[in-house]
Structures are given as C-alpha cells and as structure tokens.
C-alpha cells in the first residue's frame, strides 16, 4: 500500500510539473513543439501497449486508427465543431473503424491479426491518398490565431487520460482477462474466459485512445500536404518502438520509451539527419532480440540479479 502511495505521489508531482511549467516560465516554440509530440507519442504508445503489451495481439495498423482520428477531427473542426467535441468524435469514429476491422481480424489466429491490420492500414493509406489528392488544410483565419499553448494542454490532458485509462483497465477484471489471453489463450478459454470478447474490448479501448491521439495531432497540425502521410507506417512503427524500448505490458514503460524516443530523435535529427532513422531501426531490432522486456524490465532484471548476488554474499559470510 505504501509503495502505491509513493507511486501516486510521484505521478502527481510529474503531472503538476507539466501543468505548471508553461505558467511559471516562458517556454520556447521548439520545446513546446517537442512536448506536444511527446504527448502524442505517449497517447499512441499507451494505446498500442493496451492491445499489444497487455493483450498480446500485435497490432501493426495503429496508423489506420491514428489517421482516422486525424481525418475526422480535422473535418469536424473545419465544420466549426468545437475542438474538444471534434477530438472526442474522432475517438468515437475510430472505435467504429476498429469494430469493422476487429470483428473479422481478431478471429484470425496469431500473427494474421498483425498482417490483417497492417494490410488494412496500407489500404486505407492508398484509398485516402486517392480521395484527398489535394492539400488538406484549415482556412487562413485558424492560422492567424494559432498558438501552441492550447495544443500543449489538450495533449497533456489526453495523455493523462490515456495513462489513467490504461491504469484503471489493467487493474480491473478486464485487465486480468487481457493478461490471461496474452499468457495462454487456450488455457484462458478452458477456464471460462471469453477470450474473443476481451480481445475486442481491448482493441476498442486502444483504438479510442489512438483516435484521440489523432485528434490532438489534427489540432496541432493545421494543414496536411498529403493526407497519406498520416496513414504512413511510421505512425505504427515509432509508437511500437517506444513501447518496446520502455517495456511492453507495463504502465510506465511506454511513457519512458516515448521520452527516450522523442529526445533521441531530436538530438539525432540535428546531427545525423535522415540517417538517424536507420539507427532507430537497428536499436529496435536489438531491443526485440536482446532486451524483450525493455528498459523497465531490464531494471527489474538487474535488481533481481543484485538481490541474488547480495543474498549469496550473506550466505557465504555466514
């Protein structure tokens, strides 16, 4: 219990820090941009974490959900709907998309869910690129009143929502069922867990979060030179990488991974240019192969090793 309070306190302090930060000091445009991207990454990676990390279903179609959120929010906002409602509607529309995709693909076994979602994201990218072949942008009046602070706070709020949704879901019966599905689907089914139902539920919540993330991005970026860019597989790959680096199936892992990724990409984009993406790919492969539990898991492993070592020393001393 005490450990829980300690964690809650840390979380509260971090939140308060982020809320107060732009009020007490003037942040430069660069830092604000970076922080907004960080929030979007946290939202997307938590969304992936829920379906991939906790439920064990590899979703390679995150870009489809994200892009759907971007599109719906963008066009609703253009139609003079208040942005908060538009973002929410983006999330809901993404849930609808997830139902359409999820019901057939989640019945597929194993990796074919991954392939099905990847195929879907690709098809959506091509189809949307065909439909919106021109420059998609907001009217000029929105550009003149553009300021980064509302984007910052919207991103912060949605990121907090994403983290707390994942926290509450994983500490409920639903989360227990999700982990059971991940660890051994057959065993879970035999003991009476309706695995399909829980997989669909996890996908829907995850899609909702991804749609909200897309909404924040639509609020942040006013114009899209080519709409197929928001459906690009990069939007799947980078959040996935954040989850894997931080540690899949943990609450703080994706947050740490997002921090790591955003800061690293900022540093390397300046020094290495395009080549930094290759470096990221190599890093991702190394993490999957050699550190499957990510940073958080590695810390736990090291702690266990230390504990074992110190116990061994005590035993020898005796």
């Amino acid at each position: 219990m005490t450990a829980n309070w300690k964690k809650l306190l840390i979380a509260g302090v971090v939140c308060a820090l982020f809320i107060a930060l732009p009020m007490v000091m003037e942040l430069g445009t660069n830092i604000l941009n970076l922080l907004v991207m960080l929030f979007i990454f946290i939202i997307l990676s938590q969304s992936w974490n829920l379906i991939g990390g906790y439920t064990g279903q590899i979703n390679l179609g995150l870009a489809a959900f994200f892009g759907c959120g971007v599109l719906v929010t963008h066009f609703l906002w253009k139609a003079e709907v208040p942005i908060y409602l538009a973002v929410l509607a983006g999330g809901v529309a993404t849930v609808v998309l997830a139902v359409i995709i999820g019901l057939p693909t989640l019945r597929l076994r194993g990796v074919y869910f991954a392939i099905g979602t990847l195929a879907l994201a690709e098809v959506l990218r091509i189809v949307m690129g065909n439909i919106f072949a021109t420059w998609v942008k907001m009217p000029g009046s929105y550009v003149t009143t553009y300021s980064l602070l509302p984007r910052y706070y919207l991103g912060l709020v949605v990121a907090l929502i994403a983290v707390s949704v994942v926290y509450f879901v994983t500490n409920s019966k639903l989360g227990l069922a999700m982990v059971a599905v991940r660890d051994d689907e057959q065993a879970a089914q035999v003991t009476g867990v309706n695995t399909f139902k829980y997989k669909v539920l996890a996908l829907l919540i995850s899609a909702f979060l991804a749609g909200l993330g897309g909404g924040v991005y639509a609020f942040y970026r006013l114009s899209f030179y080519s709409i197929s860019l928001v459906f690009s597989p990069l939007w799947t790959f980078e959040p996935l990488m954040a989850v894997m680096i931080g540690g899949a199936g943990t609450l703080v892992g994706p947050v740490i991974g997002s921090f790591f990724l955003v800061i690293l990409s900022e540093v390397f984009a300046l020094t290495l240019g395009e080549a930094h993406l290759i470096l990221f790919g190599v890093l991702f492969i190394l993490v999957i192969l050699y550190f499957p539990y990510g940073l958080v898991g590695s810390v736990d492993q090291v702690r266990q090793l230390m504990a074992r070592a110190s116990r061994g020393r005590l035993w020898k001393a005796r």
Partner: protein
C-alpha cells in the same frame, strides 16, 4: 469479348509475378516458421541493384538476374545471421513467428531508410528498348516484360520443385521442416540448411524485384504493398505449401484484373485484402490443401 481475353491474359501475367513474390515468403514461413515482413523491402533492394547495374554498366535487367541473385543471396545470409537465428532459441512456435514479425518490421525501417539515402526517394524504373512493347495474340496484348516474368516464375517453380524433392539439400530441408531436433540428431546440419534457405528466399525476392523494376517502378517505401500481395498469395496457397503458390498467384491475378472492371484500379488492393480475410476465416489451411495435410 476482347476485353475479357485481355483481362484474363494480363491477370495471368500479373499473377505469375505475385507468385514469384510469394515463393520467398512461403519458403521462410514453411521451413523456419519465420514471417519475414521485410520481404517487400528486399524485393525493392533487388530492383535497385538491377537498376544500378543497368545504369552504370548498361547490362540488360534480365541478364543481370544472376548478379542480383548473388547480391540478395548474401543479404539473406546476413539477415539470417544477424536477426533471425537468435530467435531460434525461443521455446514456442507462436512466439517465434510473432518475434520474427517484429524484428523484420524493424528491418523494413532500416532497409527503407538506407535505400532512400542511397538512391533518393524518387521512383526509379528501367527503360529498355522493349519496355512497353507487346506481342499480339488473338487480339490480346502480351507485354514482353510480363512474359519474361511468367517465364521466370515458371522456371523458379520447377527449380524449387526439383531442389526440394530430388536433391539432398531438399531432403535436409524437408527433414528440418518436419522436426528440426530429430533431423539434427540424424546428422542434418539444421543451422546451415536454415541459413541457405533464408538466402534462397531473399534471392527470390531480388529476382521478383528485377521484374518489378523493369515493368513497374520502385520507390524505397513501396515494399510494403508488394509484401502484402505476397502474403495474400501465401495464405491462398496454404502456409508451407510451396507447390501451390504459382496457381494461387495466378488466381489472385485473375481476381484482381476482374475487380478492375468492377471497382476500378485504385481499389484493387482493397479487394485483395478482403479475399485475404475471407480465406483466413473460412479456409485457414489455404485453397489447395486438405484439412490436416501439410506439405512442403
């Protein structure tokens, strides 16, 4: 009527290319239970190598096939050594498939960006004297590049059939597929068998890339759509059923060229996806295998 014949003919020609793409995927999946999602990127790599040979030395793309095979074969060996062989330690097949998917997803990222740096993100294609030329038979146009693709696909199908069923290496492959542990107890060098089959699979992607670059075009990021086609063909044929890949590819090609009439060209990929999901839901063992039978 002429339109129908034309659609059938071009469906068969395109389908042969699709089958060629699926061979490499099917080999890796059937033998080692790795799903190599970077297959499309290797295809593009093969296309670029061929493009380079053509522009630097002026060698015809179809004559450069052996060079492309050597280059991509070596790439395949590197792929196996660096990324896939560590996964063999994983205890369970499902985990192995899932992790190979994630790792090769990372490989896509590395390869695509490396290719964009080397050859710029512009789309490249090879223009030879016979590009766009066609032979007319019964009022149907058969493009020469398409015919070459069909020829190479048939050649690959026959060669793979003979290698897998008639040679010692093929015997080793089949043994390692059925039971890797038992095979290694009987003196089969399973690691080497895996290594070489991975090289062959990637080399096949390179060969398909030569056809793609000479009859379509390549960009560093277009690998993903070719990969998806390959996976659809692999699923239609049934996982690990190498001999059924050519007919499955041709079936997909025919369905696609029929769907152009119905829904229009930009949406033909969506049609392939729908077929993919329907097949996986109702006949997950593929169109050509019986319920329990599994062959390589």
């Amino acid at each position: 009527m002429e339109n129908v014949i034309q659609a059938i003919v071009s469906g068969i020609l395109v389908g042969a290319l699709y089958a060629l793409i699926a061979y490499g995927l099917g080999l890796i999946m059937g033998i080692m239970k790795f799903l190599n999602v970077a297959h499309g990127s290797f295809l593009i790599l093969g296309g670029y190598v061929s493009y380079w040979i053509f522009t630097l030395w002026g060698i015809d793309p179809y004559l450069s096939v052996p060079l492309v095979i050597i280059a991509t074969f070596l790439t395949g060996l590197i792929l196996y050594k660096l990324t896939l062989s560590p996964l063999l330690k994983l205890p369970d097949i499902e985990m192995r498939v899932a992790n190979s998917l994630l790792v090769t997803f990372g490989v896509i990222y590395v390869l695509d960006n490396a290719m964009a740096l080397t050859w710029t993100p512009n789309s490249r294609s090879i223009m030879t004297s016979y590009t766009g030329e066609a032979i007319d038979i019964f009022g149907a146009h058969l493009s020469i590049t398409g015919l070459c693709g069909l020829g190479i696909a048939i050649l690959v199908a026959v060669a793979l059939y003979f290698i897998l069923s008639k040679t010692y290496f093929g015997k080793h492959v089949r043994a390692a597929t059925q039971d890797a542990e038992a095979a290694s107890l009987c003196g089969v060098n399973v690691q080497r068998t895996y290594l070489i089959s991975c090289g062959i699979a990637v080399a096949l992607a390179g060969v398909a890339g030569v056809i793609v670059v000479s009859s379509y075009s390549v960009t560093p990021t277009s690998g993903l759509s070719w990969l998806l086609i390959g996976i659809v063909v692999m699923v239609l044929a049934g996982e690990g059923n190498i001999n059924a890949i050519l007919p499955a590819g041709i079936i997909l090609g025919l369905i696609e060229s029929a769907s152009i009439f119905v829904v229009g060209a930009p949406y033909r990929q969506a049609v392939a996806l729908v077929i993919f999901i329907i097949v996986l839901m109702f006949r997950p063992q593929g169109l050509f295998t019986g319920r329990e039978q599994k062959s390589i």
